[in-house]
């Protein structure tokens, strides 16, 4: 019973609310950087309500069921991941063996759902976007997992998120070590790619393939995808906070620290997004398999040496 509560309240509502708020912060900061006023506070929510009220068009000749199921699969996996993370964060004793690996797997599914939706919609631009998304997933997954390996090694070869948190509560956050810093940098850049934000927004490239994978989605399908992206905007930084910076705590002054950790990660993402041009897909693959992987391997070696 308690798990259903976790699932609905923490996994869905709280994550969605914080995610919508984060997406507002993102848009507002972008607007301020460009000397604009920016949208009002409720704008992301209004967008989603509006999209839910609109007609859902299914393109002729597309595979209907896949087209409609893809956004739901993505949303469901994000809700599951955030539920897992919240449970571990609130009650570290509840974690089970290998939940770190489960989280890593579930974090790929939103990308997979986008790829499915793109290919199912039978639009050349959407297929192009989907194939780009696939290459993006292939490129960032290697350094991301290497970065996670650093945490595993540092916290005494444990695959439980709860034990990682407990380790950090005793010995201080993992970013205090050299390997932790390097791994966090790699993970932040991979997060940018996972969220498909500039400079890695190649699958959606508004100006080249006009929305890319989502081009055929309208109405509730698009609303679910938007909600999924907004929730990822909370889930991914939250995951990094748990793995590297010691999780969120809700007692006294720690609450403030937690909010600060999260806001600074989101602000960092927004600043990266606003100060970079979009790169090409071959450059992305080179970037992630070259420098990023090397940095991640150095971090792993440092972690093995105990630094």
């Amino acid at each position: 019973m308690i798990y259903i509560f976790y699932f609905l309240f923490y996994g869905f509502f709280l994550t969605a609310i914080i995610g919508l708020l984060a997406s507002w912060i993102d848009r507002k900061v972008t607007a301020r950087i460009q000397y604009r006023v920016g949208p009002p506070l409720l704008q992301p929510l209004i967008d989603i309500v509006k999209l839910l009220g609109k007609e859902t068009l299914i393109p002729a000749g597309s595979s209907k069921i896949t087209f409609l199921m893809a956004p739901i699969i993505g949303l469901a996996s994000v809700i599951l991941v955030s539920t897992l993370l919240w449970i571990n964060n609130i009650n570290p004793a509840k974690s089970f063996l290998g939940d770190l690996i489960v989280v890593l797997y579930f974090l790929v599914i939103p990308s997979v759902s986008i790829i499915m939706g793109g290919f199912a919609s039978r639009n050349p631009l959407a297929s192009l976007g989907a194939s780009r998304e696939m290459k993006l997933v292939l490129s960032y997954e290697l350094p991301f997992i290497l970065a996670m390996l650093v945490t595993v090694i540092k916290s005494g070869f444990t695959f439980r998120l709860g034990e990682i948190l407990a380790f950090q509560a005793q010995n201080g956050a993992l970013v205090r070590s050299w390997s932790g810093v390097l791994a966090l940098i790699v993970a932040i850049i991979c997060m940018q790619a996972k969220l498909a934000l500039v400079p890695f927004d190649i699958p959606e490239a508004e100006t080249e393939i006009s929305g890319g994978v989502l081009i055929e989605y309208s109405g509730s399908g698009l609303a679910i995808y938007k909600l999924m992206k907004n929730m990822l905007l909370f889930t991914l930084p939250f995951f990094l906070i748990i793995v590297f910076i010691g999780g969120l705590r809700f007692d006294g002054i720690h609450l403030l620290y937690g909010v600060l950790k999260y806001i600074s990660l989101v602000a960092l993402m927004t600043v990266i997004r606003n100060t970079n041009p979009r790169v090409r897909i071959d450059q992305v693959v080179k970037f992630f398999w070259g420098p990023m992987t090397i940095i991640a391997i150095i971090a792993v070696v440092l972690a093995l040496l105990g630094r």
């Binding site: 848009r27 607007a31 460009q34 000397y35 604009r36 006023v37 920016g38 949208p39 009002p40 704008q43 209004i46 967008d47 309500v49 509006k50 009220g53 609109k54 007609e55 859902t56 068009l57 508004e206 100006t207 006009s210 929305g211 989502l214 081009i215 055929e216 989605y217 309208s218 109405g219 698009l222």
Partner: protein
């Protein structure tokens, strides 16, 4: 007013279609996005795909080739939607009225909700037109609900 329409008016995503304009109107529309006018304050965004749009914004004189496309786009836009015609050309074909290539004005082909005159209209005029459109939609639904 229903929740649906209320949300629609507060987050109108615009798809911009040029049916053979001289490009001045298009530039004035882009001006609305710049820091001085910033229509994102009202939740308006320019989108790249017609399936995401709520407002079809048409400029230009509507020549033979592009009107076919305009009609097809109007069929593809998810309803409820609004159509805005910007510029003298889109209203009445302006100086191209005697051209062999512009047989009918745009509103003979697709229903237009608001007309914004000018050659080209100032960004202020475009925003004023959009405000009028929002008021019209509000009044329209009030009338319907009172009947």
């Amino acid at each position: 007013m229903s929740m649906k329409l209320k949300a629609l008016l507060k987050s109108a995503w615009v798809f911009h279609l040029s049916t053979g304009s001289c490009n001045n109107c298009d530039i004035e529309i882009l001006d609305c996005l710049t820091p001085r006018f910033d229509i994102e304050r009202f939740g308006m965004l320019l989108v790249g795909s017609i399936k995401h749009a709520d407002v079809l914004l048409i400029t230009g004189s509507g020549n033979r080739k592009s009107m076919e496309r305009a009609k097809r786009l109007y069929e593809q836009i998810p309803k409820p939607c609004l159509v805005v015609a910007v510029g003298e050309c889109a209203l009445s074909r302006g100086m191209f009225i005697h051209s062999y290539n512009c047989p009918v004005p745009i509103d003979k082909v697709i229903p237009v909700d608001v007309y914004i005159p000018g050659c080209p209209p100032k960004p202020e005029a475009i925003i004023a037109g959009v405000v009028k459109l929002i008021e019209k939609v509000k009044k329209g639904t009030e009338k319907k609900s009172s009947v």
